[in-house]
Symmetry: C2
Subunit: 448 residues, 2 copies
Amino acid sequence: MELALRGRIAIYFDNNDKLHFVKDPLILIEENKIIDIGMYSKLKKEIAGHDIVGDKYQLLIPGLINCHTHLAMTLFRGLADDLPLDIWLKEHIWPLEENLNAKDVYRGCKLGVIESILAGVTTANSMYWYPSSEAEAMEEIGFRGLIAAPVITGITKLEDAIEIVNKHHNTAEEKIRVTLSLHSPYTVTMTDFERSYNYLVNFNKSCNEKSKLLLHTHLAESKNEMRESKQLNSKYGIEFPDVKTPTELLNNIGILDDNLIAAHCIHLNENDINLIGSKNVRVSLNPLSNAKLGNYMPPIPEMISKVRNVGIGTDGPASNNTLDLFDTVRFLALYYKGYLHEPTVIKAKEVFKLATIGGSRALNWEGIGTLEAESLADITTINLKQPHLTPKINDENILNHFAYSMKGKDVENVIINGKLIMEEGKISNLDIEKEIELVEEITHRLLQ
Amino acid sequence: MELALRGRIAIYFDNNDKLHFVKDPLILIEENKIIDIGMYSKLKKEIAGHDIVGDKYQLLIPGLINCHTHLAMTLFRGLADDLPLDIWLKEHIWPLEENLNAKDVYRGCKLGVIESILAGVTTANSMYWYPSSEAEAMEEIGFRGLIAAPVITGITKLEDAIEIVNKHHNTAEEKIRVTLSLHSPYTVTMTDFERSYNYLVNFNKSCNEKSKLLLHTHLAESKNEMRESKQLNSKYGIEFPDVKTPTELLNNIGILDDNLIAAHCIHLNENDINLIGSKNVRVSLNPLSNAKLGNYMPPIPEMISKVRNVGIGTDGPASNNTLDLFDTVRFLALYYKGYLHEPTVIKAKEVFKLATIGGSRALNWEGIGTLEAESLADITTINLKQPHLTPKINDENILNHFAYSMKGKDVENVIINGKLIMEEGKISNLDIEKEIELVEEITHRLLQ
């Protein structure tokens, strides 16, 4: 039997940025795709042979897309909060990571995937050690994700990263992709950036769109990034005295284009924003994590007006502290209104766009982030029959609830690639309590 | 049978600002009070005759305290978001309020009380029309709350407010109190403020502490408040050419003291903050609402270092958009870190304090906001066995989860005044779906 979904209303952007509201909707799925969406009264004749999921209280939206995270860092959630960034990283996170093994990452990532699905996230772009373990966890649960083939100067080589690409890219019924993950301009030399980019461009030449690789990096996250980048490169004999920002730096070596997904993008000047926009760089904004780490805040109102390929991410659960994209949605919708004293900036429909079709563009993953016919069947349903989502008067009112009232825990059903992964709040064949215990055992061991 | 509560850990501040962590705790309740709290192994001999609530996965905290809201505004949630403040208020909220009746407020408030309890809030200070309707809803469900006896110049008189005080203050087993609610310095003349204050001081002379009245007002919420206040007072022949801020204004007429609970407190200069602190004014900070309405942000880091009687509030659900105090907790913990680029500002234990014992002080309600022996038995329990609250390694780690990961929906049990109001997520004798429908019918009618 194929799946069909019913609800009170479906909301989605199409690829031309048109916002659709479908009342009393029916979504018909075949294999891994949405084959039709429309009013139940019009489509019900096609319903034979479909199992119906949902009821008249569900909001149907595209599965949410987390454009930048480190899934396995569930292991370190809440261990060292309210600390300066360098102490947090150097005295707490890095020493813990030194003793991690592949099995630990599998467990941590699995819990991260579970947490994501419980909150209606169907795709995540995760950058972490032991990517094969992350792939294993994602595939086991049926998640859609990007894992990282890491290149860090002096630590991991391009050749090893290529092995990861060859092993995992476009596997698991094409639900898993690999990004060539060059951690940042302050941990990877420009030589390594150039070599990796050249490999990637060659790889992509022979590919159709959905087989293309992305280069994934942290860009302009910290204030000291430019200075640290100059120091690192200098050690390897590379100097760039005239370059003033990390964005300019990547542009100068010719790698600022739509092959790149850049996370954070905080310390940008106007020229940097224009470069990123005009060169169609893909961007993941992670404002909640930036706030918590005191990393300055990205120029998001300017970014969303000038950059098309922009989505949002949670960042890792050690610095957020959840994988619930609704938390980031709401924080983003609120922070800039408070900061700019401007209640009309970053409206509900803009955050909805960032969390859905924007994510599809940021990750260059066609067919997700929308509910259009022919798109991939990644769908999240939310139970609207709850006090904090009352009243439901009209389309805009429900969209406002998405931005300002909903939480991951309101999610009831999750479909990924046409499969019902979560039904009425339960992920089948999964002992969540056991997974929690296993993660806590690992964290205890790492802290010893 | 009396109640006893078990859990994994209990966390609370005592009245001397000492933070307590009790592992494997047992809380013994008799009638409406906590008679003892300690480790289970030590207290278990006293457990006979008690019904046990909770399990080894619960975090036990004081019931959360919402220091400023407008409960019945659930009726207007999400109807007009992302708009400038004056358009929101004058073109949307006020016209809807014109057609409200007492029954509507009862329904709206009842849903607000339900939403609050579902999110672990056990006390709320609500300012709204038809206060008898709010009292009725609170009493019916067993909530602890303050309702408003309104004084607005030209609209409602002190004499009518006094009737409300006489009818409702310290009723419902002392769970309901009344505040003399003088809406703001721009809607109430200084003459009316003085008259009301004089009545209140006389009233309080003859009272013990728990029978005292508070004067409740919005203070320094909008940028135009001083100008509008001068205009209003001028109409009634009152001039104060030398006064520069609303806080100074209230101080000049001698009413800035611990009889006052002031909500918002955004537009304060250093002198204002010192005045509020030194005169022990009670304050409700509502940063999430302030951000959403673009009302500038209050100087919270300075306030919490200089003002003792300070708690937090959600403000009304038309401008937040929820009554979930965890939303405000997290936004507060994050906003100032982002704004000040300082990850160590407003730590987890500070927001926990604001949401608990701070609320008790802000509302001058002794015995709530703590779990000390002899305090009132208002207790919230949270299920820690969830992916987004993993791992649980030590005391601080769990407190970090309170600030950065928990949500209202994680709450499992709620006790108010010694009574189990919510058990395992269910409020007994209540058809929530019916309440939702009734509220939606009212909103539809008001919009016609």
